[in-house]
């Protein structure tokens, strides 16, 4: 593999202007000079999630800023429709995995950079994998994947190990809008904290799509939401990635549009509505990716104050941007709440544990419901679940939860949940 020997004189002339001397407002911990350069170029290991519109930009920016050990995960293959903005890909690459093609392209184009691709899901990797990085940047379009990544990095934080806290930089775009944010897991607001701030995916009232369609989207939703399950039954699920399924919907939606004198149903609109695709604008991706990479650079080098913590770009009505500190929520299911080490007797029953939780001064939970990561231990409501879990009350906790295992407690008297780490005495 290529090494640092590929560094030619003045390769980093511009970047070094920033790394060689502190400015008036650089972090007091900033150590100008060779130390920080060496950290950036030989030690820093950064993970990029997503090699799509944002990911291509992020990978290029990181490589050109001097990060040399970059890993990238993406589960998708290249589609012809990606080529207008995902500039690391060429027509010959269509059908190949994005992560692999992007890694090859960057390594060819920027000598000395090692990009390690993984073609698969983020969920395939465990804690040990994520622990090896200094920083993670997400350039994803899926809410679900971002929730998973944010929760995983929050859960990774181990009070005994400072290295377990991995800053997460999250970028996202929707048309002319976008945001970049810095998440310091367990310290600042996480992705889950801001879930209710997200734009909702467009959904039309079901009675409108059933009876009074006015837009081409209404006809497409009618075909996908109402007609597909009606005609195919509950077992044949609609596959958004199957062109034959999209064609079926398109034909039905077109006929309905004709009946209601609505124009504009096309095959690609059908695909777009069904997959909830929001048009991606290359330049919005470029702005957001650049912002993410600047933050990665600042965090990795301490050369300047980093974003605290949410940058919003709104380009739909002129150009407007706003930076603010999104606050951590006490009732956040991921980073809020608290946890407690609880040593209990190996003879203790579930019922006794519940009494303990109700009585203990520092906990005092009313009507606690308990589950482990694999089973419901005791649920207070609704009545049939209470009845189904009631036999567990007389069982020993030890028979349901291994030593070191965790119990999630929810209750109306808790902001969200409490996790108990159980050990036996």
């Amino acid at each position: 593999m290529a090494t640092t020997s590929t560094d030619w004189p003045d390769r980093y002339y511009d970047i070094d202007q920033i790394l060689e001397k502190p400015g008036p407002r650089t972090d007091p911990d900033f150590l100008a000079g060779d130390g920080v350069k060496e950290f950036l170029r030989t030690k820093a290991k950064i993970l990029v999630i997503g090699a799509g519109g944002l990911g291509c930009e992020i990978l290029a920016n990181l490589a050109l800023t001097g990060f040399k050990d970059i890993h990238v995960i993406d589960m998708d293959t290249i589609d012809i429709s990606n080529l207008n903005r995902q500039f690391l890909f060429r027509p010959k690459d269509v059908g190949r995995p994005k992560a692999i093609v992007a890694a090859e392209f960057i390594m060819n184009r920027v000598p000395g950079v090692q990009v390690t691709p993984y073609y698969g899901k983020i969920q395939d990797k465990g804690d040990d994998y994520y622990l090896q990085f200094n920083l993670v940047i997400c350039g994803l379009d899926s809410v679900e994947a971002r929730r998973w990544m944010s929760a995983t990095l929050v859960n990774l934080v181990d009070p005994e190990n400072p290295e377990s806290l991995k800053p997460l930089i999250d970028g996202g775009t929707e048309g002319f809008r976008g945001q970049a944010r810095v998440i310091l897991p367990t310290i600042t607001s996480c992705y889950e904290c801001s879930l209710d701030m997200l734009n909702k995916p467009t959904a039309f009232p079901i009675c409108t799509i059933a009876n009074t369609p006015r837009q081409p989207e209404h006809c497409i939703e009618w075909a996908s939401v109402l007609e597909w399950p009606r005609i195919h039954g509950p077992d044949k699920k609609l596959d958004n990635d199957d062109p034959e399924h999209i064609t079926w919907l398109y034909n039905l939606a077109s006929a309905r549009a004709k009946e209601f004198n609505i124009e504009g149903v096309t095959w690609s609109l059908t695909q777009g509505v069904v997959k909830n695709i929001i048009p991606a604008i290359a330049s919005t991706n470029a702005i957001i990716a650049a912002s993410c990479c600047n933050e990665a650079f600042k965090i990795a080098t301490s050369s300047a104050a980093f974003l605290n913590n949410y940058f919003m770009l709104i380009g739909t009505d002129g150009v407007y941007s706003y930076t603010f500190e999104h606050e951590k929520r006490d009732d956040c299911p991921v980073c809020g709440g608290s946890s407690l080490d609880l040593p209990i007797s190996s003879e203790m029953t579930v019922e006794q544990l519940i009494e303990l939780l109700i009585e203990r001064q520092d906990v005092q939970i009313k009507k606690p419901s308990l589950s482990s990561d694999s089973t419901q231990i005791y649920l207070q409501a609704p009545p049939d679940l209470e009845a189904a879990t009631r036999p567990n009350l007389t069982k020993k906790v030890q028979d349901l939860v291994a030593a070191g295992g965790e119990i999630t407690v929810t209750s109306r008297s808790l902001p969200f949940s409490l996790s108990l780490r159980i050990s036996y005495t």
Binding site: E192, L226, I299, V334, L379, D384
Partner: protein, 178 residues
């Protein structure tokens, strides 16, 4: 690298490792165990270990649907509460806001869903549909038209459908509480 750990020490809430249970799973546990259901609504879990799939039976104690037991299936995905639960009526019923496939026209199940809403809000919303059917948001157009045109005829259609009779070529489910 910035020294994040020192920022952490300034935080009074000391970090502790959290369990691997997903946020969606905990949120569903919280929603379910804090349900405050009137005696007219009951849940049923075919598999009590699976909190994401269950049915809700509504037995209205007033209004024109009194005497019936209406069963809805709930399917919650792992992106809850970003995504709303998927709710369908499992029987063929005569109702202006429920079609013959069991689709339900309830705004908070689609266009007005927000993560701050919960399963209790959805269940209360469903029950309300039986107390106050709304002919202005029709899914079963014929039922809605009948309700607007001739309320007495509509009520008699509701009663007949609940007994499992045929109406205009449709065989309705017998939903009477036995």
């Amino acid at each position: 690298m910035i020294k994040i750990w020192s920022m952490k020490k300034n935080e009074d809430a000391a970090a502790k490792k959290k369990p691997k249970t997903s946020a969606a799973q905990i949120r569903v546990q919280k929603d379910l165990t804090e349900l405050d259901l009137p005696s007219t609504m009951k849940t049923h879990f075919a598999d009590p270990a699976d909190l994401l799939n269950f049915t809700l039976t509504i037995t209205p104690d007033e209004g024109m649907y009194k005497g019936g037991a209406f069963v809805f299936s709930f399917a919650i995905n792992t992106n809850y509460p970003h995504d709303p639960p998927k709710v369908k009526c499992t029987q063929t019923i005569y109702h202006p806001n429920v079609d013959l496939e069991g689709n339900v026209c309830l705004n908070i199940l689609r266009e007005d869903w927000k993560p701050v809403l919960n399963l209790n809000s959805v269940m209360v919303g469903l029950q309300y549909l039986f107390l106050e059917p709304n002919p202005d948001d029709p899914l079963n157009k014929e039922a809605a038209a009948e309700m607007s045109r001739n309320r007495d005829q509509f009520i008699s259609n509701v009663k007949a459908s609940m007994r499992g009779q045929h109406l205009k070529g449709v065989q309705y489910a017998n939903v009477l509480v036995r």
